[in-house]
């Protein structure tokens, strides 16, 4: 049993990301339990040297992990798994910040006098790191429906790999998603733009900029031969998938490109048809999957 941090969007717009991930984890022998009384991590990390208040929120979540151990709910388990790339980034950086600045940790602990003090024991992991620890060979053995013939392009985005203190893989040439997809039997297509920013929060006030970035990232993936793109972040998903509508406003010839969460493909490969969530994607991937003979039986 490992504590798991969902983040606001995984409980709402991206709930199928969570559902597929939890089932996939269970299939691999790991029970992810939701952190009790968690609060929004407050993405994106505050970067000024003097700001402490914006680190309160993620630290409060890390304290919850320590509390779970103190209360006996879990035994000696200080890992916290996050599924959303942005939540992972913020939680990990908050931990690193206070570890490097004990004076700040003391101030923040004093501010949160109603909580127990943060002891610094928590180790924040992204779900992909957990999968890597479980081992890609084991994942391969769990596959019931190999994704043969499906040409997938991994998209990492920014916050999983940068800056170096949080990186789960090499920032310039990551391979973790490729290894995962190969274990699932898919054909991995490299996209040179796989680590290029999708525009992130600019989607709130500068849709045009996001649309251009999406156009570049997806067009290049298609040029390299990809049929679909996978991601690990609800904001990347929104920018790459939902914003394709805005892409077509400037580039009417742009063909829809399915974008999926990596856990959806894992669920498909493991035969967990009821949690694939393909009916929730902004760009429907089902025609593509049907073409490849990879359709699910039943609703999703």
């Amino acid at each position: 049993m490992i504590p798991y941090f969902p983040g606001c969007t995984l409980k709402t717009k991206a709930d199928f990301f969570e559902t597929s991930a939890l089932r996939v984890a269970r299939c691999l022998g790991t029970e992810l339990i939701e952190l009790p009384r968690w609060n929004c991590c407050g993405t994106v990390t505050s970067l000024t040297s003097d700001d402490l208040i914006h680190h309160v929120a993620p630290l409060r979540d890390l304290i919850r992990v320590e509390d779970m151990n103190t209360s006996g709910e879990i035994y000696q388990e200080y890992r916290l798994v996050a599924l959303c790339s942005m939540c992972f980034h913020v939680l990990k950086r908050a931990h690193l910040r206070v570890m490097q600045n004990p004076g700040e940790l003391e101030k923040i602990n004093n501010l949160m006098y109603l909580e127990s003090d943060y002891q610094g024991k928590v180790s924040v992991l992204h779900f992909l790191e957990l999968l890597r620890d479980i081992g890609f060979p084991k994942i391969q053995r769990t596959v019931k429906r190999p994704l043969a013939g499906l040409r997938v392009s991994p998209y990492y985005g920014c916050l999983l790999l940068r800056p170096k203190e949080v990186a789960i893989d090499d920032p310039e040439d990551p391979a973790i998603l490729s290894h995962l997809l190969e274990a699932l039997g898919a054909e991995v297509i490299n996209n040179p733009f796989k680590t290029r920013c999708c525009g992130s929060y600019q989607t709130v006030c500068d849709k045009a900029a996001v649309a251009e970035l999406t156009f570049d990232i997806l067009s290049r993936a298609r040029q390299e031969g990809a049929e679909c793109v996978i991601t690990s972040c609800p904001l990347c998903m929104f920018n790459l998938a939902d914003r394709q509508k805005e892409v077509r406003e400037k580039h009417p010839e742009f063909e829809p490109m399915p974008v999926l969460y990596f856990t959806q493909l894992m669920a498909l490969a493991f035969g967990l048809d009821d949690v694939c969530g393909f009916d929730q994607n902004a760009v429907d991937a089902r025609p593509l999957l049907q073409e490849k003979g990879l359709s699910t039986r039943g609703a999703s």
């Binding site: 609060n39 407050g42 208040i53 914006h54 309160v56 929120a57 501010l111 109603l114």
Partner: protein, 254 residues
Amino acid sequence: MKKKKIDVMERVREASKAVITGVDDKDIEHWVDIHIMGKAYQVPADLTIMQAIEYAGYRLMRSCGCRAGFCGACSTIFRRKGEYKLQGAMACQTRVEDGMMLVQIPFSPAEKPLYDIREEKYESSVLLKYFPDVARCVSCNTCTKSCPQNLQVMDYVQAALKGDFRGIAEGSFECIQCGLCAIRCPAEIVQYHMAQFARRMYGRHGSPRDKNVESRVGEIEKGKFNDEFDRVMGLSEAELKDVYTKQQNTREVY
């Protein structure tokens, strides 16, 4: 005969006077020193903040309501002597303390958005649609610390980000809308307006329907109780009093 216009607040004030002036000052043993809006006063120790303000000679036109801890009008913030923490309380429910420095906040400025709960979709995005300020929450817990009802305010604001209508409804159930959370919030969120919207949405779309209530309302609309209504409306004042007293004296509990 024309009815005399009754100033209800005047009568309430008269009724409270007994507490403040029923005893001679020389007979009061325990006094405390407090500061009301920066001015020092000595008041009897067992008064509530509201009574103390009136004892000091103020006549409350605002920041005063039910005097029973329910309406949320008498929001007060104070500091205790020697302490740095800012406390929030309802003046009618809190006793004065020696060294207390207080001020009242009669009103918390906030615009309530107009919505029609019949027309809104029961999903998480509707909360941010009307209350985008909720996205600014930094989980500092200042709202919880300010709440005179001891509600877990931060938890229900976080429930809004999670789209958990029930969590908001249950967490904010005892909110009296005093406004102290909104006044102190560094992210300038108006917690209680958002909670009220969420409670309304939950009540309409989320909570289980009460079949007994629905069937009784149906019976009323069909006229099942019309005869009984007519009978009661036709009773004289003396007969009504008689019926009421008899009913109060029975053991039946409604």
